[in-house]
Symmetry: D2
Subunit: 387 residues, 4 copies
């Protein structure tokens, strides 16, 4: 009897913020008989400045097949565009060598389009997780462009699944599985104990305030359509959080056009204000981060984690500015502008620990559903508008 070799699924990881969503998929594919996992780490996921997510991947027991270096320094719109071009040059070589049966990409960061084009142009079936969502900025253009290059879709919400079908995709290729980040959130809710000393395990800079009596989390990135305002925007949040009494865990921002300005704003604030209730951290493993979030009074900034995972966890979120505009949100979110007072007031009033959990972004079994479908569904690379 012939042994049928498993389908090779190549998963692309380009940023630490995606890892919470990618990790359950890696785990499910690796554990699925009949699938062979390939992992490619790229962009900020291979850079020390952004916390070397690739090493986290390896520590979690996955083998990285190739690393792709495509981040061109400068952090302007121009260098982001050029980085995308370099990404295609590199990803296409990588896929040509790895010869996967499908390439899986996540969400909407600019470099994702590199991987998507490389796969599509090499006639490799493309799988897109988290398509169909709306956000109103360059991310949305990227997300829907990837949808039009992709052959199989795993949207996170019912509404985004409907959006993908309305955009002309074949409903048989659109699988509403929920967001895989909720897989992790579900485990955390089942077993919420932190189980580690945060300062010892993750280092970071700044003071080390006692967390046992409640603390806030801040995660605020630059907004690509407003790159020149990064510094001003972060300063409002910095000033607001300087006024709160409870400890603040502050996470450094993503690499993006304008990212340096945000980092610079934070660095300058630290040097000048020396806030004694703040601690600044580069990165955390997703399960650890989720536990820290679950145990917090709330999360402030413009990270999607505040909309997505926090909604399942029931963690209060103060969403600042336009970056998450138009993303579907549960009852845990309040929105404010780039304004110190607005932010401060919302934090004090809204961030007081757990609210009710919402199933908006999934039930916690997306990873295994994705693996199962990828093992069984036809893998094709031609399609036409389904109207």
């Amino acid at each position: 009897m012939l042994t049928v070799p498993g389908r090779k699924i190549c998963v692309v990881l380009t940023a630490r913020t995606s890892y919470a969503k990618i990790q359950p998929i890696l785990q499910a594919i690796q554990g699925y008989k009949g699938l062979e996992l390939q992992v490619v780490c790229a962009a900020s996921a291979v850079l020390e400045r952004y916390g070397n997510t690739d090493k986290m991947v390896e520590r979690d027991g996955f083998t990285i097949n190739e690393r792709v270096y495509n981040v061109l320094e400068g952090e302007t719109l121009l260098t982001s565009a050029k980085a995308t071009g370099i990404g295609i040059v590199e990803f296409s070589g990588t896929f040509d060598r790895l010869k996967p049966d499908a390439v899986l990409v996540m969400a909407d960061r600019y470099e994702i389009l590199s991987a998507a084009i490389a796969a599509a142009y090499l006639n490799i079936p493309l799988v897109h997780v988290q398509g169909g969502e709306v956000s109103g900025n360059i991310d949305e253009k990227v997300r829907h462009a990837v949808t039009k290059l992709a052959d199989i879709h795993f949207p996170a919400t019912k509404k985004s699944a409907e959006n993908i079908v309305r955009m002309g995709e074949n409903p048989e290729k659109v699988f509403h599985v929920g967001c895989p980040s909720i897989d992790l959130a579900k485990k955390v809710v089942e077993n919420p104990a932190l189980g580690f000393d945060l300062y010892k395990k993750y280092g970071g800079v700044g003071e080390t305030p006692v967390l046992s009596d409640g603390y806030y989390i801040v995660m605020q990135h630059s907004v690509t359509t407003e790159p020149e305002d990064g510094r001003k925007q972060i300063e409002q949040t910095l000033r607001a959080m300087n006024r709160v009494k409870k400890p603040v865990l502050w996470f450094w921002p993503n690499v993006d056009a304008g990212g340096d300005d945000v980092s610079k704003g934070i660095r300058s604030f630290r040097e000048n204000e020396k806030p004694d209730h703040m601690h600044f951290i580069k990165n955390m493993s997703p399960p650890d981060f989720m536990r820290v979030l679950y145990g917090s009074l709330g999360i402030i900034g413009n990270s999607s984690v505040a909309i997505r995972e926090a909604s399942f966890l029931g963690a209060p979120a103060v969403n600042v500015g336009s970056r998450q505009n138009a993303r579907e949100r549960g009852p845990n979110v309040v929105d404010v502008g780039y304004n110190e007072n607005e932010i401060y007031d919302a934090v004090i009033k809204h961030c007081t620990g757990k609210t009710t959990s919402s199933p908006l972004y999934g039930d916690g079994d997306a990873g295994i559903k994705i693996a199962d479908i990828l093992a069984k569904t036809p893998l094709t690379f031609t399609k036409t508008l389904n109207y």
Copy 2:
């Protein structure tokens, strides 16, 4: 009174086959008070092997602001993908220097996505001509991906305009103007005299049969999803056209994965068969070509010109194989497989000179409509699904 400087519209041209559609737009923008034309020639449009369309552009009185070299030799799927990456690196530099108020791209060739991404990532409003059509191959993925990156749409047909709106684009940004190639076709119908000696003006290789008693045109490219079959496919057409009695004007194929195999097939056939009723030509100015097409018995192959311009001209077309699958077609087209006998029979029966003209792809005023809209409509670069 202040002089308001005109909007700078940067038009990207990447292939000689697009020039018939681009030329009326260039003319209209150049002639429009309040618009400033920028021209970028790229990809095969700057290569001698593909007829140096850039020089044709200059002869027509347009100034080329920059030339972009991005074709990586190899003509495999891998090199096409890498060429797209190099394209982004180059186009983004070009747009950053030219600082246009909008970038206009045409149709669906793989390198178009380079220009589209470069513009989108630099926050430059993107204008897409000829979106919304269906074709069922990688071109269709590219076309719709460009639609999702584009801010203003100029579809060629009513149905493709509807498709764009259904894909989630704002109807206020979708302008059904017809295909600009019909602008040229209209002029030819109004004044069909050839006015030049074809062999003298365009050279080419092979015999120079007398054309006054009727002739066929062949234009057949490789199919990107079937790159390894290019040679076999072209051989069927070569053998079929070897049996016809009337002269044949054969146009060399595009640069594409597989393009070399098609060229090679033609070269080998010429060396072996030395057909005395065939003449092989690299390129022709669009108006000249349109006149030649209008005066022919019909066109054979898989070029879109046989579907689009020929429909308005009423020129019979034998469409070979899958490349134009699902493109809207008028009554001038019959479809056949990659089969010598099928092709031969269709040519004999169907290609007997003029049939009725169809307005399917426009009325002949697309260029001026486009210029007018670009001068007046708001130029923005953020959008969200219009559902």
Copy 3:
């Protein structure tokens, strides 16, 4: 009467450490009737992380014709190599647009070879400043490779001029003009007053110890042949300088393979040791830096400034490790290994303020000599071994 247009000399600047040598050349060319200055800033010279030398250039009254972004993040040997390739792609476009009569590059950093190849392959005469020196690492390979691509040579020392001729270059093309950095040093010696508040003007992080009673300068980069040792090496110097009593002005390292490790070592040391006699600075204008150096007790580390400018200034230097191996040195330098005690002892014993000045690296008029020669010497781009 016809006006003869001046020769266009395109000067390439890629790192802040070169600016002290480039600045006198820019000044001399800009002021020379019959020469037209073009400036291209590239690599770390356009990055904020490395102090935006490009902005310093503009503040000094020079116009930057183009900026080249070629630094690929990762700071490994692989990304340095790829950055060099990207550099060629970008520089060749830049030179093709600027059409200079000659391109001038400085010294031996890895990205310099990008500019040299771009010029040589475009048949543009290449001018090399500071060739012929020996150093024993990858820099030396780069430096001599550039010499073999260059058409005109401006070595800094008599011995390096002899080396260039021995390597087969035509003596008529080798001009021993001295190092242009000495031009600046000469001005500082003539007018040594600091004239600004260092902490106010340059910011930086760490304490702000009083400098009036003597201070040390540290400048230590990673060594490209020992990239994995960067952290260990810097730690020895950090520990040694932690023991001295006088203030220390510490300058952040260059971008290089291993550069991040050095920076990381410094950051970690700062967080843990919180040294109250140290101040950490990103960058300084060359004249300001030279004044600060001239007023110091001595300079510690592995920067070439300690060998070169400091020799003319008579500033004591403790040279650590292998980076400057085999570079010609004057009486101001003592050499030590990567060893805390060795470094400490040498600092205490040797760094006690001024020693005698040496003319080894020039007399202070290199810039004007270079401009004069570039205005008059034949500019050619073919050559052959002069044996």
Copy 4:
């Protein structure tokens, strides 16, 4: 007892004209116990337009580890420069994956510098075959630049070995082994029978004149410093060879800036003149070519084969123009300008079959000497001027 794994030697092949010199090295390394062969094919060696040398390599029994596509179409100085940059990006990835103990490159084509820089910047010992020669054009700049990046040198002649040492290389690293192409020539002299039907085996275009009564060979490339003259230059040779009575075997030119003009000149001449004594061939395996050369009346053009292999074979050579200026030559060569009459007269007078053989370029055992040395000599990657 531990098995010591063999040293991995990565040989880079970038053009069919190098294959005659590379093949004996590949054979010797593959057959040498204690060495492991890696082969990388790149540039025109992987392109069908230039005869797919990579397939020849595989037919000869070697495994190609990676193919590098770096030829950017355009065949201008600008695209050659950019292709070199793309080459570095690609080669550095390749070497990083293959992890050879040494990289071996041959001669002086522009893309060789890509491989040399990639190896040098990755701290991989670089081996250069055929350094130290003089030629007076961009090739010479490239050749000596590679020498300054290389750690081990295998020059072809005594004089070029001396040149390398004079350039400052350590004599212990310079091994005068002769040119490996002579290894092949030696085998041909020992067994000169052609053993195949040239027209059947190699196809080509044009007439098929009877060769038994003597024939000429032409091989003429564009000259990179005179790219715009390629067409005029080739026309002189075409006209001269149109006047000879005996058959002419004409080989298509290399890819180079200007290469297309030469090809175009040949194509146009063929169409217009239809010479009945000429046959045009793309490529031939080196041993076959050597046999054809050995059996000819002489070789005309500017190929190095006329200087090098023909000198050992005793085949008369008419060297046209400046491309081989200053290369050492034996008694088989006469030099002429780009002039129909000069060329014609020299062919008639000088090309009359065998002259005496010269050992100038070696004895025929270079390959095995190279393999032996690479197995035993220390492999290092740092060096300094040996003065």
